[in-house]
Amino acid sequence: MNLTTKRTLGVVAAAALALGSVVATSAQAAPKSVTLVFQNAVTGPNAGLGADELLGAQTALYEYNQSKPAVQIKLVMADDVSDAATASSVAAGIAGNAAVIGVVGSCCSTATKASFPAYKSGHLTIVSPSATNPSLTDPKQPKSNGFPFFHRVVPTDAFQGLALARLAVKGVTAPKVFYVDDQSTYGVGLKDTTAAALVKAGVTISGKDSVPAGTADYSSTASKVISSKANVVVYFGYYAGAAAFKKAIDLAGFKGTYASGDGTLDGGFITQAGKSDAEGTLITAPTVPFELAASAAVLADFTKATGVASPSGHAYVTETYDSINVFIQCIKEGHYTRSSIQNCVQNETFTSIKGSKFSFTRYGDVSGGAPVGAFTIKNGEISYLGNA
């Protein structure tokens, strides 16, 4: 063979090899089962959030299994206690397990952010149903965002902050707002966007404080609320802190509007604050109640899958259902490896429970946005008011 022939054969062989690898990638041999991880707050002060989201995961998985699929999905629970230190070590273990091809979670931005280093180094795709802190997908923060592996099906707190600012002062004459954050990634992020929206709207900020999550004694902050003569108090944090703070300001004699973000949207808030103290609290959350989003057939599946009569009062069930279904669609299309799943999640278009189409932006946010809901506590139960 002369040199030209050799070169031609070499090019053909390389092309064949490349083509073969492409074919092999797009039509991987189907395994009997694949593993997804449900990382969430299973225990700890915010375990109620994890328990609610699990209902959505169970429902989506139940429907998938009902279709008698060739590839079974194992859903493994991982408890991050919605705590940064725990989440980082839990995530390292998950990323190190080669069987895991995707993660649904976490509920909370603090834990989600702490998980990024492990998932980024493990090239593991994450889809969160409820982590709303803007920095998680902020292109200007390349070291701390989750690019390119983090995705979420909810709008960020940039949107929730606007809605919370509107809802908190709605119908209040000459509002004077006092706000408190819990020093968490989530709480501080939501505070920043809400406070900016309040200032922009010309609302008087009468005072503020920053109290770490886990504090039991809010008495000095309650004194500050009374001293500031605020008629609206906004709490940025999770429901355990929101409940303790609400009890403290009620005891101090506060009579105005109490509002909070989606970290408070949990039955645990009512249990811990007590019905009378929780009553009337206004809450925003970028979620649509499952009972409004799901068809009758899906609601029936919900009860069969979870054993819970109604999804009413359980937060982010809809979004968790959609998050799991992102992975389910990819698996149905024949994606069984981490890299393949990542390509699928990054590039495909998915269908939500309501039938609308969605995809993810380059940095992992849901394209086209999603509504932010308004809720209140009425007669000891969470009640949906509509869009905030």
């Binding site: 404080d209 039991a216 902050t221």
Partner: protein, 317 residues
């Protein structure tokens, strides 16, 4: 800095600070009594407190069938419920404190282990207790039912004294007074003081060292249990690690006042409670820990034995 809040809310801040301070005082007594006789920090004291808070909740829920939405009690029933909860918390904490001494200290002491061994043993016991409760409760916080209606005893110009805060301040003062008198005036109290001055001489004088040390742990545990009950009366919540921050604060109070000195624990606890409340109000709660520890370091720089460590050395436990 927000000084206007001190002007307009001075009395509520004072009352809140005193209530918190008396809880610190009682927990500090647990630390300081053990330090007095063993010259060791009982790291498990924070878990002894935590178990007392759970005992309070368990009794109110299971014995008296209260839940988070129950109406508060009144009259004789209220008195019975409060006394039963107090006794349950004190007994639980007292018994656990004695067991901690038996398990974590006595055997090591009888074998002549150095202090470091006992310290590690106490830390280990603390972790076992805390993690045990964490597993049992799935790390979930538990709310205490409101047994006592939180009404104001009196109100003048919009400021008043709430019944639960009044209860904490009066009970805290009485418990401290009782322990102080017990140590000062009783025969066993004299034995405790003798052991704290010289273990060797006490033994030569015929004092049963093990018995005295057990009683010291028991008294410290009972008082810590009372603090747990009072804490639940005011804050109505607990969790497996509730004792961690409170324990650090109470230990700080003991050091501030002069550890090993009962009255030092009293003044240290009240100083810390008031400082936390007023610093939080003026500077913001995020500065509370920083300012408190800056004050502690400054005090120790000037008075290494704490505020009252040297002044009443002779009346040390």
């Amino acid at each position: 800095m927000n000084f206007s809040v001190v002007q307009s809310q001075f009395f509520p801040l004072l009352i809140n600070g005193l209530a918190l301070g008396f809880i610190y005082v009682l927990i500090s007594v647990g630390y300081t009594m053990v330090y007095g006789v063993l010259r060791l920090i009982n790291f498990a004291n924070s878990e002894i407190f935590m178990l007392g808070t759970f005992a309070t909740i368990i009794v109110s829920r299971t014995v008296f069938k209260f839940d988070i939405n129950s109406q508060p009690s009144h009259g004789m029933k209220l008195l019975i419920v409060l006394l039963c909860c107090l006794l349950a918390a004190m007994l639980t904490s007292g018994v656990v404190a004695v067991l901690v001494e038996l398990v974590a200290y006595r055997r090591l002491r009888s074998r002549g282990t150095n202090r470091l061994g006992s310290l590690i043993s106490a830390i280990g016991t603390s972790i076992v207790l805390s993690e045990g409760v964490r597993l049992l409760t799935h790390s979930l916080p538990e709310s205490s039912p409101r047994v006592l209606s939180k009404f104001y005893i009196f109100t003048i110009h919009g400021v008043g004294l709430r019944i639960d805060q009044f209860l904490v301040i009066i009970s805290g003062a009485l418990f401290f007074f009782a322990v102080d008198r017990f140590v000062k005036l009783t025969r066993i109290g004299k034995a405790i003081r003798a052991v704290s001055m010289s273990e060797e001489n006490s033994r030569l004088m015929g004092i049963n060292l093990n018995r005295v040390i057990s009683i010291t742990f028991l008294v410290g545990g009972l008082v810590t249990g009372a603090a747990a009950f009072l804490y639940e009366t005011v804050y109505e919540t607990t969790v497996f690690n509730v004792g961690f921050n409170l324990g650090i604060a109470a230990f700080t109070a003991a050091v501030l006042g002069g550890i090993g000195n009962l009255r030092g624990a009293f003044y240290g606890g009240l100083t810390l409670g008031l400082a936390e409340e007023f610093f939080s109000a003026v500077l913001g709660t995020q500065w509370k820990e920083v300012t408190v520890f800056v004050v502690l370091v400054l005090v120790l720089l000037v008075r290494p034995n704490g505020l009252f460590g040297e002044a009443i050395q002779q009346s040390r436990v």
